[in-house]
Symmetry: C2
Subunit: 377 residues, 2 copies
Amino acid sequence: MKKYHLLTPGPTPIPPNVAAKSAEPILHHRTKEFSAIFNSVQEGLKYVFQTKNDVLVIMGSGTAAMEAAVANTTSAGDKVLVCSVGSFGERWAKLCQAYGVDAEVIREESGMPVNPQKVQDALKKNPAIKAVFLQHTETSAGTVNDLKTIGKIVSETPAILVVDAISGLGGEELRMDEWNLDVVVSGSQKGLMTAPGLSMASLSPKGWKAVETSKHPKFYWDFKRIKKSIPDGETPWTPAVTLLQSLNEALRMIKEETIEKVWEKHRRMAKAAQAGVKALGFSLLSSQPCSVLTAAKLPEGFDGGLLIKKMLNDYGVSVAGGQDNLKGKIFRLAHMGYIDAFDLVVGFTALEKTLGNMGYKIPAPGKAAMEAATALV
Amino acid sequence: MKKYHLLTPGPTPIPPNVAAKSAEPILHHRTKEFSAIFNSVQEGLKYVFQTKNDVLVIMGSGTAAMEAAVANTTSAGDKVLVCSVGSFGERWAKLCQAYGVDAEVIREESGMPVNPQKVQDALKKNPAIKAVFLQHTETSAGTVNDLKTIGKIVSETPAILVVDAISGLGGEELRMDEWNLDVVVSGSQKGLMTAPGLSMASLSPKGWKAVETSKHPKFYWDFKRIKKSIPDGETPWTPAVTLLQSLNEALRMIKEETIEKVWEKHRRMAKAAQAGVKALGFSLLSSQPCSVLTAAKLPEGFDGGLLIKKMLNDYGVSVAGGQDNLKGKIFRLAHMGYIDAFDLVVGFTALEKTLGNMGYKIPAPGKAAMEAATALV
């Protein structure tokens, strides 16, 4: 009978009308009825990506689209630059390694964004660099990178800029075309408010040129093959029909709200969450916090793993802990997609109660939840 | 207001209780609640595959699992044998080509199964062959291969046997362990009565040995990584939670019915469909027809494409046409998964009506539907 509250960075809560779409009778994928949904999803994704380019839809979580980006735009032995500001930056490095791609890695300290100057310097020093990989928002640290500045820098070189916007898309401002982003990948289960199972990739004309020379083996997520079938309103392989039915409804909601208002709502939520963290007496992990997730540092010696577990077990409230070297040391509160201001109030109330139960002295009882409530308009 | 009837080989109709599961509130995938579902799916899949081996679940349609099988068990330059009895056999050949794997291809005439003697001869002539790829049921032709005999032949050599059981699993008899099958791949949207988006691969100990030496680049569908997380009741990447909720329910239904009874039902449906085709005055494409789909040859010069289109437009009944060199020359009636005897009656009624509308003289009006009805028990 316990009611669950999901404040995790994917899967995120699914609006009931979006969930209901996935239970509708299944359509065959070679029909005009399916093509109408497919084309509508295509238009909706272009709007959310802020691009005129096609958006390729493949099955898999975001990591599938990240791998597909590496497999389609590089070749073994290529020199590339990876900018890592957390665990998902490291994933780019691991993917390059798996594909025999020679990656130079810029690693920033936990919580710091990529320094655009370092990107510029690296590209100047090594003009053979064919691609720059980075995150839009780094979910492990709650950091947003300055894509606009980095996009300009990379656009003045022969390299392409490949962006993981898995947790950022549909929450954090992103303008693919205006910011000169060459490859943007994302997933269905975060800002897009849909169940996990779909991922996307969009490529600029410069990105497509890189595809032409790529030599890695690929078949199922061969970008050229997927692009070729878009004008026919279909996919080369059987698509995840029910997930696309859901995604279409979620995109309709975003269009109705307008993407600018969606970004604004996320900014407001982030500010409220940051104030809530401070009210609890903690500090933010990130020096350049993103709009979709807030990461807070716990006091030295505090058992962050237990905090997460107790919040879920005692109150049914699910937030995320730290990953890799941050394990046990932070908590992360997602405020993306369908998560709203009252969910934040619930999250901070559960945090305060659990922290209290664990013996932590709350500096100003009740203040964190009321800070969260400032996100209400 | 038109009611649609889906008699296509994937997606197949989804039972309402299975569809409803996908609309339930989303669970986070690192929870004991999700692990319980994951473990139950694991047990259910082992039962349907008739194996003691783990069954790896990946996101994607069946082609993703086919590619993953090639990427995980071979290396560039390897010699392999592909047995092709239709379009999906050709897919194995194309996948091998994409990965630089040197495939010798045995091609049988349309409608013929693989001749096991040819497999034995090829393996004898070329002991360097590392893997044999073939279909359980070839969906483009409605043919079932003799996996039991071929399994025995391959098991006596160092080669592994890799089986595409995408359309056959959960309909056509398949006994992975007893028949010495080393790699079996399948998908969610056929006999497993679930929406498209999930695919599976199971490997024998001999299959896992082949994985150890494979050198292709891979990350997202790296079999070793996926296997490693199974004992923890999870997947390395965010899984398609809602599709797994559905699949768990579909597997529960199959277990309740027992797999032997499910196979028997499909055999009965196939016999009824074959009799229906003959009653319409047509002949079967396949000399060794499978239990999950019936392919019928249309008279010379008859427009098969128009037949399919008219059945869908006029009556809302969706059957499949021919692919590649069989385009326009055949129709294919699926009777897999949740498709039942009354659906077959509907299918044959729509066929007879549409054929009549197109000027074809029905030999014995009403007979085909009554032959289909013999599948009722």
